[in-house]
């Protein structure tokens, strides 16, 4: 069995060596196809990171009535912190709000002096949310609940931009999945077609192997191995090409290259589409032995 497996593998390597030229052309085709995908992923990744950063800041700011005491404010903050979707709460006293205002907007600090000592900024509770709650629907629901509570004057949570942001993140995620599937399918067809042509060229070999008693898998393994190798090497080649392009553009268009997980995803996609392509090619391409 070990010899049989070794022979099947060396048969596959021999096949590649015998048609190295066409193997390299196939590899280039797969690399270029994957490169389009890699560039799409980089754009998606950078856009996604920017949107996620924006989403990270999504929270609720609850402004309290003037007549509420500090103790009542702390009790209210405690109640809010126990609500579903709330990660943490932070009470901002009028004094702290004024200090923040002066630090953030020093050029407008005179305004507070002008308004006199009887004026003070309202106390507030800043709510940080769990990642699952950083979308317009859930934030809106939570805000509505909190706004009905005693002592709450007003609520701010980015009502205007949050639906758009949520939708953008949602569309981007779906687009990446859809484009990934379409590309995996088209790559499989490219590799399948190439392998089918290779099988047609080796019809006599396949036929003789079958007649002299080769098990089905012995005939299939070299083709599957070839498809897998074509897919994974093509994907790796595309990453190298994309990395070079990314490096060249990095000064004019600041961006990040793909993270390790996504690189692994591209390689796995390459391997699986190559193997799947070979499988399709074999199923439709291996000729029946003739007499």
């Amino acid at each position: 069995m070990i010899h049989l497996l070794k022979n099947a593998i060396s048969e596959g390597l021999l096949n590649i060596r015998r048609k190295l030229g066409s193997f390299l052309i196939t590899l280039l085709m797969v690399s270029l196809s994957f490169m389009v995908f890699d560039i799409f992923l980089i754009i998606s990744w950078n856009l996604g990171t920017a949107l996620k950063d924006e989403q990270e800041n999504v929270g609720i700011e609850v402004f309290l009535r003037d007549n509420i005491t500090e103790v009542e404010s702390v009790i209210l903050a405690d109640i809010i912190s126990g609500m579903e979707g709330v990660r943490s709460v932070y009470y901002v006293s009028p004094e702290e709000a004024e200090a923040v205002f002066r630090a953030d907007l020093p050029e407008q600090a005179d305004l507070l002096t002008l308004l006199g000592p009887q004026f003070h900024l309202p106390a507030s509770i800043q709510i940080s949310l769990h990642p699952d709650y950083r979308n317009s629907e859930k934030v809106g629901g939570l805000a509505r609940t909190i706004s009905g509570m005693d002592g709450v004057e007003d609520i701010v949570y980015g009502k205007e931009y949050l639906p758009g942001l949520t939708r953008a993140v949602d569309i981007l995620e779906k687009l990446v999945i859809l484009a990934g599937l379409v590309l995996a399918l088209s790559l499989s067809l490219v590799v399948a077609n190439t392998v089918r042509l290779a099988v047609a060229r080796r019809a006599l070999t396949v036929q003789i192997m079958s007649i002299v008693g080769a098990p089905g898998w012995f005939v299939r393994v070299p083709f599957l191995g070839e498809g897998l190798l074509t897919g994974v090497t093509g994907a790796a080649g595309s990453l190298l090409l994309t990395m070079a392009v990314s490096w060249m553009l990095s000064s004019s268009v600041p961006h990040e290259f793909l993270p390790g997980k996504w690189i692994m995803l591209v390689l796995i996609l390459g391997a699986s589409s190559g193997a799947a392509g070979s499988w399709i090619g074999m199923k439709s391409g291996i000729p029946k032995p003739r007499s």
Binding site: M1, I2, H3, L4, N7, E11, R18, L204, T205, Q207, I208, M209, S210, I211, V212, G213, A214, P215, G216, F218, K288, P289, R290, S291
Partner: protein, 227 residues
């Protein structure tokens, strides 16, 4: 019985390539199947290596029945057979050594055992000096001897030779037939399909005749006029 055809018929779109064939072949026998082109000789061979299955009836070869064999078991049957074709069917990108070694490689034989067996067989068939050559560098007779060596390398129980002399001149044809007789004498069952049974000396083989898919009684067969 090593090979048995029981009421075998094979139809292609209602056209009968074989009709009601009953045939038994014993171990160690030399059987010559003759008949004109299109008589069904090759179809009969395909049924022996089960590259084709009967429309009606059953074929049994070395314990494998056509109505029970699974696709995944076909290679076990084929390892018991050696097959020689008229057009040799050698793999052009492989050397003589690699062509002959193929049946052993697909059976999982160790490289050392493959070398030993192939060298010994090539020496026996006076082809050792050609082991590094490619098929296109060989004469027709040498190519057919390589094809016979490939068929014999895994010690088959049955050797099927389908018109092996069809592309050879008379002298080389005689040598190939002598080689088949020799192989049969060493114990291998040989089945030869030929359109000219006169190539095989009388008394060395059993002769059957096929005509338009039917087995014909030898005493009334007049097929020689068609040869």
């Amino acid at each position: 019985m090593l090979i048995s055809f029981g009421n075998v018929s094979r139809f292609y779109n209602d056209w009968p390539a074989l009709e009601n064939i009953n045939l038994q072949v014993q171990r160690g026998e030399f059987l010559v199947i003759s008949g004109p082109s299109g008589a069904g000789k090759t179809t009969l061979f395909r049924h022996i290596w089960m590259g084709d299955l009967p429309s009606i009836g059953t074929v049994e070869v070395a314990g494998y029945r056509s109505d029970r064999i699974r696709k995944s078991d076909l290679h076990y049957l084929r390892r018991k057979l050696g097959i020689v074709f008229q057009d040799f069917r050698l793999l052009p990108e492989r050397t003589v050594f690699d062509n002959v070694a193929l049946p052993l490689q697909v059976a999982g034989t160790s490289p050392k055992a493959i070398r030993r067996r192939v060298f010994s067989l090539l020496a026996e068939m006076e082809l050792n000096h050609r082991r590094g050559s490619y098929p296109h560098e060989l004469s027709g007779g040498e190519q057919q001897r390589v094809a016979i060596a490939r068929a014999m390398v895994a010690h088959p129980v049955i050797l099927l030779a389908d018109e092996p002399t069809g592309n050879l001149d008379p002298e080389v044809s005689r040598m190939v037939i002598d080689l088949l007789i020799e192989i049969n004498r060493s114990g291998t069952t040989v089945i030869l399909a030929t359109h000219d049974p006169r190539q095989v000396p009388a008394g060395t083989a059993r002769f059957i005749y096929l005509d338009r898919g039917h087995l014909v009684n030898p005493s009334i067969w007049d097929g020689y006029r068609q040869l």
